[in-house]
Point group: C2
Chain length 368, copies 2
Amino acid sequence: MSLVPHNPQAGQVHIGLGDRSYDIRIATGLMSNADAWLGLPKAAAALIVTNETVAPLYLAQLQAALQPHYAKVHVCTLPDGEAYKTWESLQLIFDVLLGQACDRKTVLFALGGGVVGDITGFAAACYMRGVPFVQVPTTLLAQVDSSVGGKTAINHPLGKNMVGAFYQPERVLCDLSSLNTLPPRELSAGLAEVIKYGPIADMAFLDWIEQHLSDLLARDPQALAHAVQRSCEIKAWVVGQDEREGGIRAILNFGHTFGHAIEAGLGFGVWLHGEAVGCGMVMAAHLSQRLGLVDAAFTQRLTALISRAGLPIVGPDLGAQAYLHHMRVDKKAEAGDIRFVLIDKPGSAVVRGAPDALVAEVIQACCR
Amino acid sequence: MSLVPHNPQAGQVHIGLGDRSYDIRIATGLMSNADAWLGLPKAAAALIVTNETVAPLYLAQLQAALQPHYAKVHVCTLPDGEAYKTWESLQLIFDVLLGQACDRKTVLFALGGGVVGDITGFAAACYMRGVPFVQVPTTLLAQVDSSVGGKTAINHPLGKNMVGAFYQPERVLCDLSSLNTLPPRELSAGLAEVIKYGPIADMAFLDWIEQHLSDLLARDPQALAHAVQRSCEIKAWVVGQDEREGGIRAILNFGHTFGHAIEAGLGFGVWLHGEAVGCGMVMAAHLSQRLGLVDAAFTQRLTALISRAGLPIVGPDLGAQAYLHHMRVDKKAEAGDIRFVLIDKPGSAVVRGAPDALVAEVIQACCR
């Protein structure tokens, strides 16, 4: 049994962080439900940050939902993609805020995927030293992972997410309808983060995913609702214990150390983040197995599920040295020592180092 | 009597902010005192951020002090001046940190005045979502005000300190010896912030400043030690009650609303921040008087002291409309309403609005 409590009241997950606590609401058609927008901080103005892909689909809906609550609803539309998760995009947000004389009560709304959420959250953390913000994630990856937990950041030419803040939103609103417009490749990328929660915290959830994977790929609303809710519950449980990643929170990075090396090695954006994490989980399972923590059956089972989800299970052939280099400059490394998130028994993760030679063996076995 | 406790143990002030608490240490020759550097967070690397003016004077001393504690002591030297409190300078810091593969335990040291302290603090707040930092202020203004209390920021082309964070240092080390190299104009600018603490919190301290102003201008070590300590005590008392400026902390901005308009109207850097604050206090006292909160004798007394400290007491003739405009886009304004810090009786401040017509009268009376 998993240690993580399940809320039978579907559609709501609470993140308990003292005076920074908030709720995640999960439902179909949430954006057009007036109740979803009640009780947010009052202000003269709101700013919606979105991107060129999402704006034509959902911006009008969100503007209509916010207009009863804010005298002015400004918009900042960024170019789409990881390549724009930069200081320049952040500056575009500040330009609108200052150009419109927005004061320090202004509420920011992040309408989009992980990039929009991370950059908007960081803008909110910094503008006048902090204004409130709300996450309205429109991708599966953002709904189950990046919009929850307060990690915000932009990229630096020398590293991903290197400049950022821990800054919690006022609320996360996951409208499951928005997943209907998601390209299949991005749906699969989101499933990687859903699958992640099984091996690190809840093998019963992994069972459930295995049984309902075709429903998830077919975007069955009930299946998606459960997948998002259970993922958020597990994330909330972890983040509630360790907001600033001093300890247990690092287990959420299962698959991310190898995944980060794939993204950095190929150039960010070549593989989607979720694709790199999917393949990274396969590699981390192999490393766990070679360290004697899990058996071959576990590795095979996880690999099969990741493959069925439409994700790559073979890493690009960058060479072991390139992998090791990229993992050493990862944020999680300490004084050059790579910290891996490994499965120490199914449903439980551990953060530890591993001998370079063993890691190189895994890279050799998993990449071509 | 002031409500602010005085620590008879000279040379130490505690900022009580729960798990973000820290000490300010104040002494002559502190940088070369090995004890001052004990007990800071352990790390493989430190980074000293300084500027081209301060580096030739104190960098070697600080490097020598840190070398026993950190295997690597990196340096980032910025150009000097408010004009460089920008994203570009912040980027230079991140370039060094990432170029040297500094991990998220790396400790940053801000060696310089307010600009270096604010920008280094903000870099520490953002780098890998937060690394520890230490303030080593070398100007009077930074020692009595900007290095204490965790306000960090950079400027935006459309406004000063518009992008930043509340982020507390691990320690503040005020070496009074560094004030010996301070240009007289900057000494006076620092005295503006020292004088500020009297009218808002402690009239006995104002008496003391009046009696010891010539000692302070002559850089008498004992007089400077008391001025820095008492200023820090008052700031610590205020910040301890209201870290994120939800209420009482705003009183520390006495003189800053008019001062901000002077700086913005003339172009930042034409007047030093402390000069603008000095003149701004004169204007705020006049406004307090016109609102019937203080008598003419108080305004005259404060004006005389500010003048004796070598600070301007007549504002530049920007026109009332320009003053009002700049004050409306100040961070402290709410939905365009200007919030003034006024003296409601000597030794006590209040934050409130005032009729535009009355403000215009004050501007007319105080500027030419």
